[in-house]
Symmetry: C2
Subunit: 158 residues, 2 copies
């Protein structure tokens, strides 16, 4: 695998591992709290990250989404305390499943594949803007996890 | 410039621009507030990002730090409301100055330079771990800005 693909994958892994470590250190009760007054609850951010990462499967032609039902409550809609979508325990399991699957699929991709267009772009788009490829999506998602990790950190009582 | 370097620089720019846009939309008074109860104030995160980014100049052999005096209050020490280091206005100006300087210097670097070791590594380190180069530092800093941007967003009253 080419060096820069390895670097981008490592940057992604670092953020996923940091987030995972934080989530594992928090109780279900803590994850049901808002990260700050009037802001999203931990469970919402957890579901949001799972749903956004799950969507990389079809976007990168790696298969269908595992959890299409999470898009509505965790991407299309804001947090809603009155709507119980699923349990924290269930989301913890889905977090592990989707990231294992992505890790396996990502590591099997060639450098050439990473520089191909993703599925919402046409061949002409890519010719005009060659930097908008799968690897650039991964780099954007890496910043996106970091963004929400900074918020999830506020749940900690330290 | 090689495609991958361009992608990493764009990912950095996206986070810097988003943070800048947020900072510009906040008043000095808002930036003097804590981002959440008991958490860092906006001014601290602003100074922290300036100090961390400033340190990339010597790290990448691009010159001396512009603001070495910011390291002590904004990196080595936690936020302290009783210590007035400087004004929000002054930090806004420094933000602009350091990011203009970095942007110019980064765009003048060749792809080869980005894959060289940074100044806290030896040649032997880089031979053993070739992915720990200047570009990997930039990618880590990109996640770092995103992390604190997620927190700064909480100052907004929307």
């Amino acid at each position: 695998m080419e060096l820069f693909v390895k670097m981008a994958l490592q940057a992604w892994d670092v953020q996923i591992k940091r987030t995972e470590k934080l989530i594992n250190s928090l109780s279900d009760e803590q994850l049901l709290q808002e990260v700050a007054p009037g802001r999203n609850r931990g469970i919402y951010l957890l579901g949001h990250l799972i749903a956004v990462h799950d969507a990389m499967l079809p976007l990168f032609s790696l298969g269908e989404k595992l959890y299409p039902e999470l898009e509505e409550p965790f991407i299309k809609n804001p947090d809603n305390v009155d709507l119980v979508v699923t349990s924290v325990k269930d989301l913890r399991e889905r977090w592990t499943t989707i990231h294992s699957k992505l890790s396996e699929a990502f590591n099997a991709m060639s450098a050439e594949q990473w520089f191909q267009r993703h599925n919402t772009m046409t061949d002409e788009d890519l010719q005009r803007e060659p930097h908008r490829n799968k690897l650039s999506v991964l780099m954007n998602r890496t910043s996106h996890v970091a963004y929400h990790l900074g918020q999830l950190m506020f749940i900690r009582h330290d």
